[in-house]
């Protein structure tokens, strides 16, 4: 497990899913979690600073998760932020597009607590 103070931003337009991801993160030992309801909200919160990790949905109003990811990678202050996509989008093109845009991981919904744990550990291991 990484630093328990790692600050997460959970971006999803469905409040149910935000709560589930927040609870799962808490179970995994990370209780420093904030939420955003779409890409615009997410990007604003990230720009305000202090976040170490982003868990984002793809299909959201105003700004989708891929566009937010591309904006994160373009912003020199945020470019190195790890981003895990957690989405119902399951086309191969989606997964390839996310990887090319610089996503650190891709979890397809519906997912299990074990999958989230595994992907987080893998990302923390890589960024060390």
């Amino acid at each position: 497990m990484a630093d328990p103070n790692t600050k997460f931003l959970v971006v999803d337009d469905f409040s149910t899913m935000r709560r589930i991801v927040r609870n799962l993160l808490k179970e995994l030992g990370y209780s420093n979690v904030e939420e955003a309801e779409d890409g615009v909200d997410g990007l604003n919160k990230l720009k305000a600073g202090g976040f170490d990790f982003v868990v984002s949905d793809w299909n959201m109003p105003n700004m989708d998760g891929l566009t937010m990811l591309q904006n994160i990678r373009k912003d020199s202050a945020l470019a190195s932020l790890p981003v895990l996509m957690v989405t119902a989008e399951a086309k191969k093109e989606n997964i390839i597009a996310a990887a090319q845009a610089g996503a650190n991981g891709y979890v397809v919904k519906p997912f299990t607590a074990a999958t989230l744990d595994e992907k987080l550990s893998k990302i923390f291991e890589k960024i060390g």
């Binding site: 899913m17 119902a88 519906p110």
Partner: protein
Amino acid sequence: MRDDNKAVNDEHDEMSADHLDKQGDGKEGEMLHRIGQMTRGLHESLRELGIDKMVERAAQGIPDARDRLNYVATMTEQAADRVLNATDIANPLQDNITSQAAELEARWKDVMKTPALKSEYNEAAEATLVFLKQTTENSNATKAQLMEIMMAQDFQDLTGQVIKKITELAHMIEQELVRTLVDFAPNKPVAAPDNNSLLNGPQIAPEKTENVVSNQAQVDDLLDSLGF
């Protein structure tokens, strides 16, 4: 009635033949002319059969279907929220019991290390220890079930997305129908749907769909094969 129609058709055929002979502009002209006739025929039949009324009713029915789908989305969201609220309340209660049982267990073990206490006392203490152990085990098992209840609510996000998509589709069809009613031009070209969008939401039947993954293992395999 049938004879009348036949007469009309024959007349049309003659007319178009005449027309073509005069214009002499070949197959394309003939095709356009026929499409024009078919359109007028369709327009008239629609009105005669009262299909314009049916289209009108369909256009009126869709907002109702949309409201119903919205209702389903709202109700499932409320249900998911209620369950999540309940697990939020029950989780810390269970955590509390677990940690208190562990604390008591340790205290009793300490006390029992001290010699020269009555055997009855020891027996009671042993029974309490067994009970405390059971409490911890049951609390952990309950907590696992609470997690399961929480994870089961992920349907709300997925069904919500599907319902939203259908609602949008219904809205689009409704607008299209209304527009059709307004200008009544059935041969107007309709824009082809965009199938290459990256925003498709949950796959309802991934096994039946090309180019779609159906589980996390396939996502991981694809990313591995690409070297990510």
